[in-house]
Symmetry: C2
Subunit: 125 residues, 2 copies
């Protein structure tokens, strides 16, 4: 009943909320689809590197704002990230625990594969 019990709430003070799949609703195919786009993969790599939450505006992607919003939505609806309002900012964080529970080792292996490819192709950073 205290605010502590709502630490993962995705609503803000005015009750805005974004729909997320429950852990049980997350599907491997949707996760792989979400990560099959270069920009979405880059977002996930940045979130993994940071380890915490990043605002959408942190990401300077070479696409329009509406396309950026679309990419975050695909990541959220697939269960890869959680998006929560904190004041006026929409914050994004990886659902690492959920993914690890469902697919042990998968996220780490995917991130390692992405790192390896970035080094190989010389487009890291």
């Amino acid at each position: 009943m205290t605010s502590n019990t709502r630490a993962t709430s995705s609503t803000d003070a005015t009750g805005r909320a974004l729909p997320h799949p429950s852990r049980e609703e997350i599907r491997l195919e949707a996760v792989l689809h979400a990560l099959s786009d270069p920009l979405r993969l880059r977002i996930v790599r940045d979130l993994a590197t940071d380890g915490g939450e990043l605002s959408c505006s942190h990401f300077d992607l070479p696409v329009t704002k509406s396309t950026t919003t679309h990419h975050f939505r695909v990541l959220r609806e697939s269960g890869v990230i959680r998006q929560v309002y904190r004041g006026t900012a929409k914050m994004n964080g990886l659902r690492g625990e959920d993914l690890e529970h469902l697919f042990p080792g998968l996220l780490d292996t995917l991130l390692a594969a992405a790192d390896r490819q970035a080094v190989r192709l010389g487009d890291d950073g």
Copy 2:
């Protein structure tokens, strides 16, 4: 110069060949896209279980023949499988060595994740 040196040829006696990406051309994003479809994931799981080559007709998928052909083409063009003509049959095999070289552990982790999900959802086998 002997037939042994052409063991991985994708041409048949009449010279038919199917285009494949070289190992260096394989991209993680394309591999993940290829595996983001339930039927393509099923094909890959069957190929992994078999460990060798299977003909397209081995797979009794609940879609039209042209859709089946499409799915195999996506898997081939992403570098997940190699398709070779053997006489009149088009045979399919996982490019396990190429994928392991590029993305160590990825294919095994993905297959384990797919197995785990199939058990969890009760749709294995």
